[in-house]
Structures are given as C-alpha cells and as structure tokens.
Symmetry: C2
Subunit: 253 residues, 2 copies
DNA sequence: CGAGGTCTTGAAGACGATCAACAAACGTGG
DNA sequence: CCACGTTTGTTGATCGTCTTCAAGACCTCG
C-alpha cells in the first residue's frame, strides 16, 4: 500500500471507532452501546484485490466491516458479465444483511487490497435483543444501502453515462468525506476503468470516453489513482445529485 | 407453502392477515407478535391510480402497507423523466424505511387504484423496543426490498431489454404467488406499457417491442391486463432468474 | 358513439458496444 | 536501476440496441 499524496490518516482507526463514527452520523450513541460494539469485534483479516470476501450462496456466520480498502457487491451472469451493485469504503458494513438474509444473494469482492473485521451473527442477535436503539441504527445502515441502490437504479435507467458517472463520484465523495477519507475535494480512487464499467453497467471503452467527457467539461481530474473534483457545484448540477438518501444528519432514531 | 390453485379471494384479507402471512414466509410468528401487529393497524385509505401515497421529501409519521392494488417507488428528474425503482403488490410495506430514514428520498405512487393501511412510527418504535424477533422480521422485510433493488440493477446493467423484462415478470410472479394473487401461471397485471417503461428504464415504444419479443418466443401472453406465463422454465432460463434474494423460505431469524 | 388513453408499427438517429490496435503505467526479477 | 511482461488506459471504426418522432389502430368508458 503506497503512501499517497492524499492525506490519509497515518494509521487506520480501530474498527469500533470507524463504525461508531458512521453510526453516530445517524444519531448519538450511549456508552453502553459503544461498549457493546467494542465487545462484538473479532480479529481483522486481509484480502488481495480481486478476492471474494464473501461468495454468492454462502451462509456466513458473521458480517464484515471494511477497515481499509474498497469492496463491491457483485453478481455474475451466465455469460461471465459482472454487475457491481454497490461500492463500499472503509466503515461500511459490506454484508450486514447476511445477518437476516442468511444465504448471500451476491458476492462481495475486494476492489483494492482490503482489511475487514468480523462481527458474529450470534452477537448481532444479542445486540438486537438487548440494545433496541443500536439495533435501529444498524437497521438504518442497511436502509441507507437500499437508498444507494435506488439512486443507482435511477442513474442506470434515466441518466446518460456521463451523468451516471458524475452521480457516482458525488456519492462516493460525500461518503468518503463522512469517514474523513477526502482531503479537500480530492480522494484516493483505487478503481480501474474496467471495474468502474462493471459498477456502471457500461463497457470499459465507454467508461474511458465518459471520463474524458467529465475531464473536458472541467468537472474532474483523475490521474495516478487520485480523483479531484474541480467544480463541486457544477458536478452536482450536472449529475442531479441529491444526498438526501445518505441520511448523514443526526436525528433521534 | 402449497398453492391452492384457486382464484383471488372474493374480498381482500384484513391487513394483519396479509402482513402476518408475509412475515410468516420468513419465520413463524408467536401469538403476542400477531397481537402486536394487530394493535398497530390504523384505518385504511384509498388512492386513485397516479396519486402519490407519499411524496419525495415528506416526513410521514407512519408507514403504509398495501392492501389492494399496485404501487411503485419513483424518482422524477429535472427533465421530467421518471424512474420507478421497485413495484409493490398487496402485503408489501411500501415505505417501512421511512420509519428510520425519516425524510423520504423518493415518492410512492399508486400504479393502479390502491388501498393502504397505516402503522404509526410511534408504534413501530414500540415494537422495536418490545419485540426483538418481530423487529428482525420487519428489518428482514426491508432487506428483501434491497435484494429486489440489487436484482433490478443487474437487470438494467447487464441484461438486454427482453431479459430484464422477463426477470421482472418472474419476480412479480413469485411474489404474487406468495400472497395468493396468482392462479396457476396467470395473474392480473395492471401496468400500462408506459409505466412498465418507467420501471425498466426504457422508452414506451421499446417496451412494446420487448413484450412482442417475449410473445414471439412463446414465453408469455399479455392481454386485457392479464399476464400468463406460458413456459415457466424457459422464462426462468431466458431471464437467468434466481429467486434466492426473495428469501421466501422459513428459517429461524 | 365519440374521446382519450393505450397499443402498435415504421423510419431515422443517437448512444453505447464491440473489435482491434497501440500507448502508457506498473511491478517484478535480473 | 533497468529490462521486460502484464495490466491499464486511449483511440478509431463499425455495428447494434434502444430512442425519438410520427402516425394510425384499438380499446374502454363515459
């Protein structure tokens, strides 16, 4: 992992800090709730880019939180085509839904070198029995995922490629900022154009041309795995991005 | 769950029956849980096709369960284009996520004449404090919605129009069967081609041609708002439909 | 029976896919 | 540190799917 020009923290924060920060963006946490989270954490595990953290059809006994790196939820079709349904960044619970869904309806794949920590489903069940408020925040976390999915559907169905890509960039920026992984309007962007194509439902060639369009419009720069948003307001207007669905505002829940 | 093979019931079932049936497809319910559901029900309300049950930006104090008719979650863009992110049928909680999201990130629109019942968020909170197992089933209900969204993303991103439509038909059939709204392989299908276009992210003209393709392949017939699946196995193969994500099997949750 | 919505079809055009070739960047071992 | 192979990015040409525009048929319901 390279030391980049972007000001990533010297060492990644502990899981419960990362997770607590995320849940706190929805509502404040009590001491016992933080303690409960802390207790549930199990050891970290590393994955190389391209590896499956979880595979379609699995029935994992735990859920995983990303500590470092990016991951994606992906489905692969008979002809080998892959669709990434959502992209995940540090602090994201990549398969919290596995707790109740049991059988995974998709894979979770490392899109860059990743480190995760686990929370057993047994302990999640304990939380759901003993900590209703914390449970609601975990539930909310999965509801935000669903909101991300809905936005993706709108992007795929009704936006042209450039608008769709711009929207994804806006969303990732807001989410990265919420976990302190952006410096100014720049952030590390570890995805190849081929991966981006699988996320957007486009061909790699067209992703290349779509990025060029955003460059030529002076909306972004992307080079050496660093993405810079050159004009946030114009990018938001261009993509019709509305961050409501991310629910990044504290309210009693 | 054995299909009775009979026509739709003469009068629609009471809300708590419909909802209990749905949640029971995930796991069995205790008497107190059924009692709790029963207590939370508030009066029914009717909507004409095209009306909003809930509008984007609303902060409703209750969530709605469809008793009769079809509804859709929809977002509208600046140019007036509409994208329906999911279609809902009787027994579906159309905006359970509003309980924790608070501000609606999309509208819910009646796609046919609808009747709904309400459950106040206050009572949902009470359930989440007092009935952890029932809460997990409600949570699961929203997770299945997210799975439906993910499947839609795959359909939009990586399937041709005909495959995508076929997939949607397979999904709707399975969901309708689960609430006894299919007789054999036929069911009432109240959507116009224009509405279907907004759900699939296509133009109405192309939806027309796509339906024709499925007809010509002898996969479906669609006439007088009645859809018949002529060859289930071929339709499943053609659309690569895999119902895992619907989680319609009982397990301890 | 008329009117509006819905369905159907044709023709032309746009957006994105595919195929092919090459350039640039990266990483690994010598 | 350079050489070399592999992955990633870039560009052009052609093709196909889906969109748009337009017109007419059909259906449904007052």
């Amino acid at each position: 992992m390279s030391a980049s020009g972007v000001d990533a923290p010297a060492s990644p924060p502990a899981l419960h800090v990362l997770l607590a920060r995320k849940l706190r963006s929805y509502d404040s946490l009590s001491e016992p709730e933080i303690g409960a989270l802390q207790q549930t954490i199990e050891g970290a595990k590393s994955f190389a880019a391209g590896q499956d953290l979880v595979s379609e059809g699995d029935r994992p006994g735990y859920s995983s939180v990303l500590i470092e790196g990016w991951a994606g939820r992906s489905k692969t079709l008979a002809n080998g085509a892959r669709q990434i349904t959502s992209i995940h960044i540090p602090g994201d619970f990549v398969d919290l839904h596995g707790f109740l869904l049991h059988k995974m309806d998709h894979s979770v794949v490392a899109l860059s070198p990743c480190r995760i920590a686990k929370i057993s489903h047994e302990k999640l069940r304990w939380i759901s029995e003993e900590f209703p408020h914390l449970t609601r925040l975990l539930w909310l976390n999965t509801l935000v995922d669903a909101g991300i999915h809905r936005n993706e559907i709108v992007g795929m169905g009704r936006l042209p490629a450039a608008g769709h890509l711009a929207q994804l960039i806006c969303e990732l920026y807001e989410r990265l900022r919420a976990v302190d992984l952006a410096s100014g309007y720049a952030f590390e962007f570890p995805l190849s154009q081929a991966v981006l194509a699988d996320a957007l439902g486009l061909s790699p060639v067209h992703v290349n041309r779509t990025i060029r369009e955003l460059r030529e419009r002076n909306l972004i720069s992307l080079r050496a795995r660093t993405l810079k948003i050159l004009d946030w307001d114009k990018l938001v207007t261009f993509s019709q991005f509305d961050p409501t669905y991310l629910s990044q505002f504290q309210e009693p829940r």
